[in-house]
């Protein structure tokens, strides 16, 4: 049994706490909240693609299912906020099952196209089902989340809430990475033939992973809806699916810290270079190109190399 990376978990906890104590600026806090939301989505995609080899370009749709379920049920029906999160998870899981059952038999580009198509259908649905979703103009008036009478009605409170969620998520992710299950997914990714020969029900495992990833992504979508108070289809379009795909890839596919590293860099980076607005896309694109061409294992791979060369020796 591999040892847990307690250094990484402690480092995360310290950064989150220090940021809370020393940063008063609400804008920076909101960036960190978005980093954590994106990190969770990118990490889940990393489990799906980086570990299991299941490519999905439709993750934004599951994120949207969570957000819209929460939005519609709270705004139009006045449902209990926690109940809406649960319903969102159930709907996303059911939809993931329906989509995954036939499509996960596909591989590579075909699977990417199928999931992309699913994402597009949901995007159209969010736009066209305007009586409930608000259409392209979006859905306003989503109430702030309240937990056990404690309202998350400002940036600081929400920061604490999302930090706890993110930290628990990171612990679970670390536990997953050090379990046999993470090996099993890597075996499936590299050789379905060998995995089947040694007792792995590949179709079943891929479907379970797809559904679990959709469920967590939906949960994060619900939390996003409560945080922003407003949602529109633009937040759940193909661009967002590709964004989290790039975050996972740049961070490091198949590495448990990959999603967090990629999300941190790609969420914060555009904000850091706003002074060079005219050149933003050029700088962003060049950086991506360099990482993908010269560091195929992403930022996590660079850290791993550094750790092996200078820290362990």
């Amino acid at each position: 049994m591999k040892k847990l990376n307690l250094f990484y978990l402690s480092f995360l906890a310290i950064v989150i706490v220090l940021f809370y104590i020393f940063v008063d600026n609400q804008f920076y806090k909101s960036i960190l909240i978005y980093i954590m939301i994106n990190a969770i989505n990118a990490s889940m995609l990393n489990i799906l693609f980086g570990y299991t080899g299941v490519i999905s370009l439709g993750q934004a749709a599951f994120y949207g299912i969570g957000a819209y379920t929460t939005g519609i049920l709270t705004v139009h029906f006045g449902c209990n906020p926690l109940l809406t999160i649960l319903i969102g998870i159930l709907i996303a899981s059911f939809v993931a099952f329906l989509v995954g059952y036939p499509t996960l038999k596909l591989h590579g580009h075909y699977l990417a196209m199928a999931t992309l198509g699913f994402g597009m259908i949901l995007y159209i649905f969010f736009n066209e089902f305007s009586n409930y979703t608000g259409g392209p103009s979006g859905l306003v008036g989503i109430p702030k989340l309240s937990l056990f009478g404690f309202g998350l009605d400002n940036e600081d409170k929400f920061y604490v809430f999302i930090s706890i969620y993110f930290f628990i998520f990171s612990i679970l992710l670390e536990l997953f990475d050090k379990s046999y299950m993470s090996y099993k997914l890597k075996f499936i990714k590299e050789s379905e033939f060998a995995s089947k020969s040694f007792g792995v029900n590949v179709s079943r495992v891929k479907l379970i992973v797809f559904v679990l990833v959709a469920a967590v992504t939906s949960l994060t979508g619900s939390i996003f809806a409560f945080y922003s108070g407003f949602i529109s289809p633009v937040s759940f379009n193909l661009k967002y699916s590709i964004d989290i795909f790039i975050m996972a890839t740049v961070g490091g596919l198949g590495s448990i810290v990959g999603g967090t590293l990629g999300a941190t860099m790609l969420t914060a980076f555009p904000e850091l270079i706003t002074n060079f607005e005219d050149y933003e896309m050029i700088i962003y694109g060049t950086l991506l190109l360099i990482i993908i061409m010269f560091f195929p294992q992403g930022i996590a791979g660079i850290f791993k190399k550094f750790w092996g060369r200078y820290v362990k020796s």
Binding site: M1, Y180, Y183, K184, E190, S191, A194, S197, F198
Partner: protein, 249 residues
């Protein structure tokens, strides 16, 4: 033990196997035949990757013809591959997890929450035992890209062995090995057979087959043309004509 009856399979217009019928029981058995005779196809039928158009595969008195590969593994058949099929992203030792954990079927929650320390201890003990048997302990921390070919072959064998199967299908175990490695492999296979595990191997190296196999089945163009001991097979005119040639291999 393993009984094949009238197995036929076609790919488009090509008949890959036609009415293949034979049984094997204890010890080491070999399946020989020229290239394209249908040996690996037959292995894929036995291990569930191909479903025959006709015929039945019975293993330990159970019909496994239309079972999925993962079910067939759990019933006691494991295998190696003609082309190495080790997982490159993990060490050779970690490759053995695939062989052993699926047999143990760990609970997902216990696995994630690290509540199965005893299982890990059991797995590690099994891994040590099987690596000792196959003489590969010193290579265990390497990744497959960094280890010699002969070692990788032994790791594939170790992975097939670690699940305590009743039958191991070895697809060209001696291919690509030098004489010393073949000799070593032969000794390991003999030991495995001595543990009561049945072996069915596809092999082209006739001296390797003759030194190990007590029963040999010869295929040609998807049909069984002879079966018996190696001595009987080498005297069979059809076999000589189809595969062995006029002189001993």
């Amino acid at each position: 033990m393993l009984s094949l009856r009238d197995i036929s399979i076609s790919f488009g217009g090509l008949k890959a196997l036609t009415d293949v019928t034979f049984s094997i029981d204890d010890g080491i058995n070999a399946l020989i035949g020229p290239n394209g005779a249908g040996k690996t196809t037959l292995f894929n039928v036995i291990s569930g990757f191909l479903k025959p158009d006709n015929g039945t595969v019975v293993f330990n008195n159970k019909d496994i013809t239309f079972r999925e590969p993962y079910e067939i593994f759990s019933m006691g058949i494991s295998r190696t591959f003609q082309n190495l099929n080790l997982i490159k992203d993990v060490t050779l030792r970690e490759n053995l997890y695939l062989g052993v954990f699926e047999k143990e079927k760990p609970s997902f929650l216990k696995d994630i929450l690290r509540l199965n320390k005893r299982l890990w201890e059991k797995v590690n003990k099994k891994i040590e035992d099987v690596m000792d048997l196959t003489n590969v302990s010193k290579w265990q921390h390497l990744k497959p890209d960094s280890a010699p070919y002969g070692v990788l072959k032994n790791f594939e064998l170790a992975r097939a062995l670690i699940s305590n199967p009743d039958l191991i299908l070895l697809d060209e175990p001696a291919a690509g090995l030098n004489n010393a490695e073949k000799e070593n492999l032969g000794l390991i296979i003999d030991k495995i057979a001595g543990m009561g595990i049945r072996i069915l191997m596809v092999e082209h190296d006739m001296s390797f087959v003759s030194s190990l196999a007590k029963y040999v089945v010869c295929l040609n163009f998807g049909k069984v043309i002879a079966m018996g001991t190696y001595t009987e097979i080498r005297q069979n005119k059809e076999v000589i004509k189809a595969y062995l040639g006029d002189t001993d291999a």
